[in-house]
Structures are given as structure tokens and as C-alpha cells.
């Protein structure tokens, strides 16, 4: 042992200052490599396998409860389920055949009129991992993330209609903002007469509202609202909501229209993520108009 150094009863390794310098330099090195060269993505994904089980633990009791429920499902229930699914399948099959014919016809008509074709949508299914337990936010996490090429802005729906939109992507999870989130807007169209408007979330689970609808506008109880597809985010023609209440008060310029979402926004476990929306052309810039304004203003 080196006797020139101060004697220590217990060997505790290098002093805190030495360790500090070592780990600070190591961190800075990693930071530099990660920020500049992105060499560490494989290390990151390997380590994220270690970390990703942690958020899933939160849902474990619920999952176990559900699995126990699945295990004890009676045969009677299964037979009933099977029958109802068969009936639905037959009903849907007829409609699907019609749909194919209509699609074909639509394609031909669009060709004749030289309109751009509607893009084919591809879907992938995802399961809800957990819904956020926050009173002010309507969000949930699904089990597909960057690993399944999920992108921010993709639309999420269930078998009945639009559920929400992907707003954040984690490696193994993605966050879906529900259409009922406060001030979340969906451009919609009344199916009956093609009236375009925008549907806003109200912040509670089962309630949406149409703002800025003139009192005289042609809208009725029970009207179906489908996406208009004008924004380039939501594909056209997917059911979103149903009008349930209209209050027309002559004192206000706008009618108060309350709607219910068609999709079981907070019911299902399985959802579909839509991808492959056709890209819209860029919106033309408004520079010329602005210049005109400028030339007019100084006087």
C-alpha cells in the first residue's frame, strides 16, 4: 500500500470530488454524442425495455381482474356472444358487398369528373393501456407507439366512430387525446344536408357542442355528424356524433347544440389507428394580401 497518502481506516474508493468529475465528464460526453450524432438510439431502446414495464404496473390490477373475468365466462355467454356476432357478421356482409359496388362506382364517377381519388385508409389495432386519471384532461394511452410506426396526428377510432387523435408518441405507447377533451375541435358535416361546422369537446365524458351555429341553420335533433375531411387530419365520412339537444334562443345569435359522441369514447379496450391519409397540397401563402394591407395603411 502506498504510505505517502493519508491513511484511511476503511477503503471507500475514490473521493466524492473525483467521482463527481468522472461522472460529470461521462454525462457531458453522452450528451454530446446523443445531441450531435444520435448514436445511442439502440442503447436507449434496449434500456427502455427495462423501464417500460413501470407504467404498465399501474394497470396490472385492472388487467388481472379482467383476465379473471374472462376465465370465468360461462359457456352460455360465449354461445350467446357467438350468435350475436354471427348475426351481425351476416348483416354487415350484405352491406360490405354493397359498399364494394359503391366504391367501384364512386371511383368511376371520380374518374369521369377528374376528381382526385380518395386514399385507401390502412388501420392497425391497439389496446388501451390506461386512461389518465386527471379531471381536466381527456387522454389515454394505447399500447402501440413508435415501435409500430404510430405518428403524431393520426386518428383513432373504434367500430362506431372517431375516438380521438394521437398527440404524443412514446417508444412503446402513444397518447390519445379524446374528442371530448375541452376545446378539442373536429371539423364535421351534417350527414343529412352537408352543412359544415366544427364540433368542440366540452371537457366531460359524454358531451360535445357545436359552436357558432346561426339560430336559423338547418339542424335537427338526431342529425348524424360525420367528419368533413377538410382539415386534412380526419378522413372524410367517419361518424363522430349525434345531435341530441338544440336550444334556439332569439336573444343570442347562435343556437346551443349539444351532441353525444357516437363512439364509446371511454368504454372500449380495443381501438383502431388510421394511417395513410392522402396529403393535401400546401395552403398558399398570404403574403400578397399582407403587402396590400401595408401599402394601404400608411397614409
Amino acid at each position: 500500500m502506498d504510505n505517502t497518502q493519508s491513511f484511511q481506516f476503511f477503503n471507500r474508493g475514490p473521493s466524492p470530488a473525483v467521482r463527481l468529475v468522472f461522472f460529470v465528464v461521462l454525462s457531458l460526453l453522452l450528451l454530446f454524442i446523443d445531441a450531435r450524432y444520435r448514436y445511442l438510439e439502440s442503447t436507449r431502446s434496449a434500456l427502455s425495455v427495462l423501464v417500460s414495464p413501470i407504467p404498465r404496473l399501474a394497470t396490472l390490477p385492472g388487467v388481472l381482474w379482467q383476465q379473471a373475468g374472462d376465465f370465468f365466462t360461462t359457456q352460455h355467454n360465449l354461445v350467446e356472444d357467438n350468435q350475436s356476432l354471427h348475426q351481425r357478421h351476416e348483416r354487415d356482409a350484405a352491406q360490405l358487398l354493397q359498399l364494394q359496388a359503391l366504391q367501384q362506382e364512386n371511383r368511376q364517377l371520380r374518374n369521369l369528373l377528374a376528381l382526385p381519388q380518395r386514399g385507401e385508409l390502412t388501420t392497425q389495432s391497439a389496446e388501451i393501456v390506461y386512461a389518465e386519471r386527471d379531471v381536466f384532461k381527456r387522454k389515454m394511452l394505447i399500447d402501440k407507439g413508435a415501435n409500430a410506426n404510430v405518428l403524431i396526428g393520426q386518428v383513432v377510432m373504434d367500430d362506431a366512430g372517431i375516438v380521438g387523435q394521437i398527440t404524443r408518441v412514446y417508444p412503446w405507447l402513444a397518447e390519445v387525446t379524446l374528442i371530448t377533451e375541452k376545446d378539442h375541435a373536429v371539423p364535421v358535416q351534417v350527414l343529412r344536408n352537408g352543412l359544415r361546422t366544427i364540433l368542440f369537446g366540452a371537457g366531460d365524458t359524454s358531451h360535445l357542442s357545436l359552436r357558432y351555429m346561426p339560430v336559423s341553420s338547418d339542424i335537427q335533433n338526431g342529425d348524424q355528424l360525420v367528419t368533413s375531411g377538410i382539415d386534412g387530419i380526419y378522413p372524410p365520412g367517419i361518424p363522430v356524433a349525434k345531435v341530441v339537444k338544440i336550444e334556439r334562443d332569439a336573444a343570442y345569435p347562435f343556437a346551443r347544440v349539444t351532441c353525444l359522441p357516437v363512439a364509446g369514447v371511454d368504454k372500449h379496450r380495443h381501438l383502431l389507428i388510421l394511417s395513410g391519409l392522402p396529403k393535401l397540397p400546401e395552403r398558399p401563402e398570404e403574403k400578397p394580401a399582407a403587402q396590400n394591407m401595408k401599402t394601404k395603411l400608411p397614409k
Binding site: P16, R19, F23, L28, L31, K139
Partner: protein
Amino acid sequence: MPYLAPVHPEIQRPVSTSLIVFSVLLALFLNGLPWEGIWLMLRPDFVAVVMLYWCTHKPLRVGIGLSWAVGILADVADASLFGQHALAYTLLAFGGVMLHHRLKMFDLRQQTTQVFGILALTYAAYALVHWQVNGYVVWPYFLGCLTSTLLWVPLSIMFQAARRMRVDRDH
């Protein structure tokens, strides 16, 4: 106020490795919950406070190296730059290890001011890296520093209770 008394005897009590591991995992889990908006700003950095607790109470078992490793895990969990949390937690652990003698002299209320200093340094290091890489600083981020400091007292009381329980069982 038994909890606010100087923590001399408590600081020497044994602590099981499983408690340390469990607390760090729980803190990572709490940090990993999908906080949003103002809640994300107000969220205390559970991992930082837990690591600081162990660094000040068991500086020989939990030190700078372990804090750095936990920081790397936090970087992965948060999808932040590699080394960003690690750098912050290294400084945190150094502060904790350096100040652990001093903290022994104080009661919980007085400890809070010291803890605030260390946490402020940690938050500043994290924000500094963010500023260097992205060119801006989100100032409300520092609110988390205050809530983390506020977390120090209840967390210390909780850990004291957990360790006391263990000692009572052993005797």
C-alpha cells in the same frame, strides 16, 4: 413534534437494500405517470428527492455512481437526452454526500433550506443543458423545484417510519 427533532439516532439505523431499490423504482414510476400541462410543471421530481434522501442518509451505500445510473434510466423513461438527468443527479448526489454531515445537525424544517439549494442546482443543470441544446428555457419548469422541496418533509417522515418499523421488527 417527535419527527422534527434532530435525526441523530434515526440516521444511523440500518436500512434494507430492498427498501432502497423499491423506493427508487416507485419514484421512477411516479415520475413516469403521464403528467400534462401545469401538473407536469408542478410535479415534484420524485426520483431526485428519493436519491437525495438516500445520498444524505446512507452516503456509503447510495452515492454518485448509483445516482448517475438512475439518471440514465430516468433519461430513457423521459425520452430526454442521454446524460441530461444523469448529469443533474450526479450533481445532486455530490451535494447530498457533501452535505450529509451538516444535515445531521438540523431538524427537518432546517434541512428544507439546504435541500432547496441542492435541488435548485439540479434543476438548473437540467435546464442549462436544455437551453444549450434547444435554445430556450421553460421557466415554469422551476416550479417543480419548489414542490420537490416541499416533498422532502413528508418523504423523510415516511422513510423514518418505514425504517423504524423494520427496526422494531428486528428487535
